[in-house]
Symmetry: D2
Amino acid sequence: MRIGVLTGGGDSPGINACLRAIVRRAHEAGAEVIGFQDGWKGLVEDLTMPLGLKEVSGILPQGGTILGTSRTNPFNKVKKNGETIWEPTDKVRKVLDTCARHRIDCLIAIGGDDTLGVAAHLIPHGLRAVGIPQTIDNDLWGTDYSIGFPTALSIVTEALDRLHTTSHAHHRAMIVEVMGRDAGWIAVLGGMAGGADVILIPERPFSVKDVVARLKKRLELGKRFSIIVVAEGARPVELGGKQVTQQEVDAFGHVQLGGIGYWLAARLREHKDELELTPRVTVLAYLQRGGIATAFDRLLATRLGVRAVELALEGNSGVMVGMQGERVVPVPLEEVAANSPRLVPDELIELAEIFY
Amino acid sequence: MRIGVLTGGGDSPGINACLRAIVRRAHEAGAEVIGFQDGWKGLVEDLTMPLGLKEVSGILPQGGTILGTSRTNPFNKVKKNGETIWEPTDKVRKVLDTCARHRIDCLIAIGGDDTLGVAAHLIPHGLRAVGIPQTIDNDLWGTDYSIGFPTALSIVTEALDRLHTTSHAHHRAMIVEVMGRDAGWIAVLGGMAGGADVILIPERPFSVKDVVARLKKRLELGKRFSIIVVAEGARPVELGGKQVTQQEVDAFGHVQLGGIGYWLAARLREHKDELELTPRVTVLAYLQRGGIATAFDRLLATRLGVRAVELALEGNSGVMVGMQGERVVPVPLEEVAANSPRLVPDELIELAEIFY
Amino acid sequence: MRIGVLTGGGDSPGINACLRAIVRRAHEAGAEVIGFQDGWKGLVEDLTMPLGLKEVSGILPQGGTILGTSRTNPFNKVKKNGETIWEPTDKVRKVLDTCARHRIDCLIAIGGDDTLGVAAHLIPHGLRAVGIPQTIDNDLWGTDYSIGFPTALSIVTEALDRLHTTSHAHHRAMIVEVMGRDAGWIAVLGGMAGGADVILIPERPFSVKDVVARLKKRLELGKRFSIIVVAEGARPVELGGKQVTQQEVDAFGHVQLGGIGYWLAARLREHKDELELTPRVTVLAYLQRGGIATAFDRLLATRLGVRAVELALEGNSGVMVGMQGERVVPVPLEEVAANSPRLVPDELIELAEIFY
Amino acid sequence: MRIGVLTGGGDSPGINACLRAIVRRAHEAGAEVIGFQDGWKGLVEDLTMPLGLKEVSGILPQGGTILGTSRTNPFNKVKKNGETIWEPTDKVRKVLDTCARHRIDCLIAIGGDDTLGVAAHLIPHGLRAVGIPQTIDNDLWGTDYSIGFPTALSIVTEALDRLHTTSHAHHRAMIVEVMGRDAGWIAVLGGMAGGADVILIPERPFSVKDVVARLKKRLELGKRFSIIVVAEGARPVELGGKQVTQQEVDAFGHVQLGGIGYWLAARLREHKDELELTPRVTVLAYLQRGGIATAFDRLLATRLGVRAVELALEGNSGVMVGMQGERVVPVPLEEVAANSPRLVPDELIELAEIFY
């Protein structure tokens, strides 16, 4: 049995723990593991590295991925009638050739919707693959948690803790822009864990008017500071309930490179006197992808990695391993692709609102 | 509606987050919350403190419990024919009187098997109560996770990370004694997340001979250090497969105050030449109970606290809120008492063994 | 003996540790301590709070300041012929009256150049005061370290550690904007501790051309990522070697609310093809002021606080306590005002350059 | 120019940062660096590894030492009339031969009194060497700080923070045993930063009676918990003011493997009723040597490493680089050896006592 492994898309802590688990479990079963470098690019260009016990020794806590990653996609994604069509390019053949050349019985792909989507679309072309969910956005369907999310959550929570201590001393609205383009998992769970006063997410378009009203209500209660967590994909109704794109933002004469956080700060500044506080922006950006993986992330990654190998050993293909409650279950890759992004459910959003 | 709250047994990070959630949810529903101090002692002696929005402001991340705790039990636990009988004392009446005096509609008890056991045994006497699981040992039946465990897990993992860096430089066996009297949750999950080489838990009596054999095997593979995680309740077959009690240990002429970690170190020292390494002991002890609650612990505590209030508002009694997968469900307190301690399942133990 | 205390300007971790030290040392000497709230505003408006053993219990590690802070200044700062004149307003009288009303023998002012500058300018009006340096910018003359800087340094270092793990996986230039309006202490020491590849500070105007050249050189060495630390006050020669103000930046059609980090990203983006990497911006902003004080910050704050009380008890006034090597020494407030901001010395800048 | 490097004795975070600095500075000057493995053993047995830019890439934050370490000493230390004589063995010749074989112009030795002592004693035999202070005990004469101490300090402080949160909930005396065989630096500074209530160090023999009296006084003030930090080398007057050795401790029928922490717990337990609290022991042990180096440790290590190379390049030998205030200065190795261990000065001990 020969297993190939690749890591694609944005990286995050926990991937290395997953690679270690894959190698250890495969080794136990006498299977060989070949690492492909830089995501799907490694399969297109045949970039490999050995992946044995020695390579994965000591990488358990480390962020990043020893395999490297890229956003290479052997398909062209074309929008047609509102639908996205994956048109194969000549790279598809190269991927399959590389697999054949290395006699790969099963390819384990670690990544988010794009990386796993490639795997799903290569299955009909003859690829045998198992997916492992990894995205700090946590928006893959079929799994409660994706690798990287637990650590991102903990980083956001720690950042909010820090802002709490300093915000008490001043009249301020601290705006914290976090990741989450299509779904607000980091914002909702991080905001709830970090005691945010307002949470703005893609699932629910917000109005600046409502934010101002909330801040004023807090002011009346004697709270002279507020922490606002805003997901990068949050959509102001003032912009038609759409995400802030650079073009739209430019039209307002504002930031070209910053995101929704700066846009919101500019809006709140217009209400400065009324609110008696100054908005301040912190953009966590890539900090959310970095550092030491938390214990939960390592356990998640370890369990998913071990189970992916077992599924491969049992001859499975076309499935992603998903963490559902305390069980690791196989989920058809097609279903994952069809139902992602997974949005934050209403009950969780309402839970967070108790603490506004 | 008037809700009473108490926190009993050993404390842990997350309790304060839970108290905050209870108060915020109750406030939203217009219910009043009264805090009883120092666990069941507060109900026996009528020690109360107000528990309003002000009291819970800013406590979300903090370890400990603002209510204080104790191990007071209004019952005498008597062993009869191998069974434990809870004989009521005159304190039972005092608890009920205190509840009546404060017109408590429902009492929320936060704690482990002892604290929740008292609630379960008071129900037949007329108490109305809802339980919330809190024990870093994580061994309560009916919930995947108990408040305090996520933080303890993260502390143990961090400790193992630290030992890894220094153990590489020397020929050493690092023995880390962690909590877990009846079940090895912290040891198994913490050990797995921290990359332990040997994990010893109450569920599976161990022999020193096997530990020595494993260390020797690692030595043959060129690994000149090893990290051994041992739960305080681990049971050596050399002592008849029972836990190390002070008496038994004294008989061996060893530690009077230290625990199994020191006992094991003494045994390994006898094989020093053979193993070519020196054992070193770290006892994490109360460090595992302290500090800032992790994001997961806060979310767990928040969800359990909110749901406990909702169950109380709906007129429920005699149940514990349990986290099962992503759902919070009511579990009869009797069942919790009857089935605890919840042991680490075989499949998880075997998962950990892949990484030995 | 009655000692007044105030904390002014931007807050930072370590202030509370300092307040605790002041109260404990004063208590030992039988002196009384009165806290003034919200910086100099508390003296203008007579806002006091008790500051006894109970108030400072448990605040040692906490960020923020239990006294609150503000930027109120009883003087008008007027620029005349390039010099800044401090013109007294009627608030000066109010401050002196408040001190008299509370029979303050000595006022301890904790803060940066503005807060301590007020103290210095009030001395000729009859105020008796001792200053304690507190600014995360670390640019006060007369002390090696100011309260808040050690923690800010550690936060920046940790952020760079996180970016390192993720930057390895992609072709990226990570731009991290840190505090430091007049001096680059956080950027130089944080950058050195965190392994930055380029450090841009107010002391040395930089050119985008040089930054691009450095990144290209790294690319030639096979380094496909780079971390650039830029102090908020760094001055591009492209803008005449001046700091990026909003007006100037607007003239370039760029960010209105973001700072130099975004400006630089826009510039580097113009060289995207040449550099083969995408710039990404992280703005640490108020994160640098928050959270738990580091051990060094607490020790610094404790030593400065104790010594300030001792100087007050000995009848001193008009001095700031400065940490010079391992000694705490009194420095005339006038000298501090005259020589601040203290810039990063050349030898330290050159030390950092070894690691570019 | 060819520079050899070795790391000896107990390892600690910061060493790798120092190795990186040495290599980077040497590279800049065109000098070559050869790494000797496992301390002086590597010079006796000629164990080398290349030490170039590639080897030190990415090791800045990492604990441990990539060179490995040992306690090998080419001298026999013999006690004669209370003095310690270093008698050369045939290993001395081997060390010199190895240096000659590799044409080492200067050997940089990183370590504590033993490692640097070897260097000092080899100088008269013809070795050319520069020392760098590294010991978490921080007791080397000639430097304010040694590599490893800043990180150990931060770990101890964090541990005390954790115990504070949990100790509030119970009636407990938390005993924390920290490193410090001859001097109490970690105990005094860590205890002060972490808010310890009692600190016991080698410099000042303590009596159990005094500790009990202090705890009782706290009890009278309503403090129902206390944190006692005890250095491993603290000496109870009850044992004649000497350190607790295993023999002496055995004579008391107590711990064979545990240290002074357990001994003290046993003594306090005898006063249990009087003190109304239960003693609990945490032994930090090797945790103090592990993990990520703090920012201060990295800066210290970087500055010392760079300066050591510069001294070597300038043709110096027989000196250690010491951090004195903000300056790095050369100190004759002989003086270091003659005046170490450096004890905690009285004024610092008395400063700590203000907070008892």
